[in-house]
């Protein structure tokens, strides 16, 4: 509580009134990064002898050209929003969590094992319990690199990347072993997937005949919770303070490594929820490739959303649409969807590179605000 009276909190908690500079720096600048990346993608397609208008046309058509396209975009946006919320918390604490991919897998594994084991439980109990178990599993997978950074200064970027690779192997091991579908074993197909989950744990569908499920609403609600957590609670305040200025935070009595480990654990938990929701909302079983790269796309969405839980909602929908569109592009005009991975990489480069202008703008505004206070 004492920290809230810190002079720096005036800046940390300072929320500007609406102004156009804000819109340009935080919305138009990142969005133009996406446009430039798509433009470079178009040039690459042209060099490869593919008609970019046809390819991008198929992409747009796939994402928003039909009811099923739009709902599918929202389905894909859901895990991105969960992952991105965790990334917001971690990056705000200056912890670069690249491990969402592995954390999603752990959440998915736990959310498969749990309902298969406790399949006699009624749905009203089993569904929330499964979500909690998924969260805890992801949080555990995030806690490891978090505590390694806090205690042994292990670079969290590298450790989370390694944890991703380990989780991938763990998933293979389980769906070809202990979690393999007994029906597949009996039939001799030996498909690398788990048994189908009991129906009472399935997420309710929002629109019949589509995959859109209640997880989308849960994700939006959680965005509000994370916003409240980061800007209206002491722990959230400290997480942001640790990220903005670790030295000042230490001086104010905040145990910096503890809050960084906490941020990483929460990020892991939210990614774990993404995995759990993907299993009980969409696939209803554990499969190879359950993450669909959401762990990386979620990072890009979080960056584009300005590491803000509310900015993340439109950013997730944008990238959800991009992923759905990429699949349609691959199906309709045979352009590999790995083009999207390359474009996402360019978006990350542009958004991280263009941050210099928003930083300059912020510092100029701070100076002008202070001058304004001085004269009044």
């Amino acid at each position: 509580m004492a920290a809230k009276n810190d002079a720096s909190s005036a800046i940390l908690l300072h929320r500007p009134a609406f102004d156009w500079g804000n819109v340009v720096v935080h919305i138009l600048l990142p969005l133009s990064g996406v446009l430039v990346a798509l433009l470079i993608g178009a040039i690459m397609l042209l060099i490869l002898g593919v008609n970019p208008i046809g390819a991008y046309g198929a992409m747009v058509n796939g994402a928003v050209g039909s009811v099923s396209g739009i709902t599918q975009s929202l389905v894909e946006a859901t895990p991105l929003l969960f992952v991105g919320l965790g990334i917001c918390i971690a990056f705000r604490a200056s912890v670069i969590n690249i491990g969402a991919e592995g954390q999603i897998m752990l959440g998915a594994i736990a959310a498969t094992w749990f309902p298969l084991t406790f399949h006699t439980w009624p749905g009203w109990l089993l569904l929330p319990a499964t979500l909690i178990v998924g969260f805890v599993a992801g949080a555990g997978w995030g806690f490891v690199p978090g505590i390694l950074k806090a205690r042994l200064q292990v670079n969290e970027i590298l450790s989370t990347i390694m944890m991703n690779a380990i989780a991938t192997q763990l998933l293979y091991l389980l769906i070809r072993g202990p979690l393999m579908d007994p029906a597949g074993v009996a039939a001799g197909t030996f498909l690398a997937q788990s048994a189908r989950l009991p129906q009472q744990v399935w997420m309710p569908r929002l629109i019949p005949q589509t995959l859109l499920h209640a997880g989308a609403i849960l994700a939006v609600l959680l965005a509000l919770v994370v916003y409240f957590f980061l800007w209206r609670t002491t722990i959230g305040y400290r997480i942001r303070a640790v990220g903005l200025n670790p030295d000042a935070s230490r001086y104010a009595g905040i145990v910096v490594p503890l809050y960084q480990a906490l941020a990483m654990t929460l990020a892991g938990g939210l990614a774990g929820l993404a995995g759990a929701v993907e299993v009980i909302g969409v696939q209803h079983r554990l499969l190879d490739g359950i993450t669909s790269g959401y762990g990386f796309t979620g990072i890009v969405a979080a960056l584009l959303g300005g590491l803000h839980p509310l900015g993340l909602i439109p950013a997730s929908i944008l990238f959800g649409g991009l992923l759905v569109g990429a699949n349609e592009m691959q199906r309709a005009v045979q352009v590999p969807s790995s083009l999207i991975t390359a474009i996402l990489g360019l978006v990350v480069l542009f958004v991280s590179g263009s941050a210099i202008w928003s930083r300059r703008w912020e510092s100029q505004r701070k100076v002008s605000t202070r001058e304004g206070e001085g004269t009044s």
Binding site: L148, M162, A165, L170, L349, G353
Partner: protein, 310 residues
């Protein structure tokens, strides 16, 4: 255990240790240059992938391995310039820009591979060159002196990199902009120019690392060929305490465990293959945990330089 390790198996393990270490040595020594100048380049994995693809594509279509190697170096240089532009000139958060470069390399190499090549093909890569006289020595000959030229190059690079970094004016300048860029700047050293040079040199070496995989060691290209080796190389830089010799030692240690593991699978020792595949990643985390020489870490690592700050 009845299958006692024969001397032939032992030689086999050591030969594959040298081979497995080669791309790691190139990439990690390159990363030492970037990090010593104060820039963490996490895009090494992406550079290795795209360069590895480029080298393979050129070698497949022209039959000229050297042209493939050169292409890989040029691709590395171009990506190094991109990384420098974002991380040095635009002062981006280096961890994030590196991940962007990784994703770009991963996606781009896969896209090009699927459109331009399509299926997994193999080529005749660089052949082993037996060094006269020493190559005929028992035991030592096959282990050390019957490799392809890119493999010799990796291990010759280590003393050269050590000499450049610790014994030349250029090395001193690289170290000074990584330790105290403001002081270096006041002495008239162009901080950004030295960092551009270091990142680009590191990226060229990462490019050669990718080519050493695709046209000298495994002689094929497929999606995600490197499988994390670029990130492991970055981890080895921490483990090796920013010294070329330390990094080489780390790469060899890492590779011998891997090659023993591979040989145990060949010999039919029962270990679940999934655990065996996890081993390099577990070892990398362990290596990061025992990084003891943190005092050697460049003081301005990961910190963009702006005149008039500090």
């Amino acid at each position: 255990m009845s299958t006692a390790i024969s001397s032939a198996a032992l030689i086999g393990i050591l030969v594959s240790m040298i081979n497995l270490a080669t791309p790691l040595v190139y990439a990690a020594v390159g990363e030492i240059f970037a990090q010593t100048s104060g820039v963490v380049n996490l895009g090494v994995e992406g550079i290795m992938l795209l360069s590895g693809y480029a080298a393979f594509y050129v070698a497949l279509n022209t039959g000229n391995l050297w042209l493939g190697l050169l292409t890989a170096a040029i691709v590395g240089l171009v990506l190094g310039l991109l990384m420098s532009l974002v991380s040095v000139t635009l002062k981006a958060e280096q961890g994030i820009s590196g991940i962007g470069l990784y994703m770009f390399g991963l996606g781009m190499s896969s896209l090009l591979f699927k459109i331009m090549i399509g299926t997994v093909k193999t080529i005749d890569g660089f052949q082993a060159v037996k060094i006269p006289w020493v190559g005929d020595l028992p035991v030592i000959g096959p282990i050390l002196f019957r490799h392809s030229i890119p493999v010799y190059g990796a291990f010759l690079l280590v003393p050269v990199a050590w000499w450049v970094l610790s014994r030349t004016t250029l090395g001193l300048q690289i170290r000074s902009v990584g330790q105290n860029p403001a002081a270096a700047d006041s002495l008239g050293i162009h901080v950004d120019r030295i960092r551009y040079f270091s990142v680009c040199l590191g990226s060229v070496l990462a490019g050669i690392a990718g080519a050493s995989l695709s046209i000298a060691l495994v002689n094929l290209f497929q999606d995600n060929l490197t499988a994390g080796q670029g990130f492991i190389a970055v981890a080895l830089v921490y483990f090796g305490g920013w010294s070329p010799w330390g990094v080489m030692g780390g790469a060899l240690l890492f590779s011998i465990v891997n090659s023993i593991q591979l040989w145990m699978q060949v010999l039919g020792v029962k270990i679940p293959s999934d655990f065996a595949v996890m081993l390099p990643y577990l070892m990398t985390i362990a290596a990061l945990m025992v990084t003891v020489n943190r005092a050697r870490q460049p003081a301005a690592l990961n910190k963009p330089f702006e005149r008039g700050e500090n």
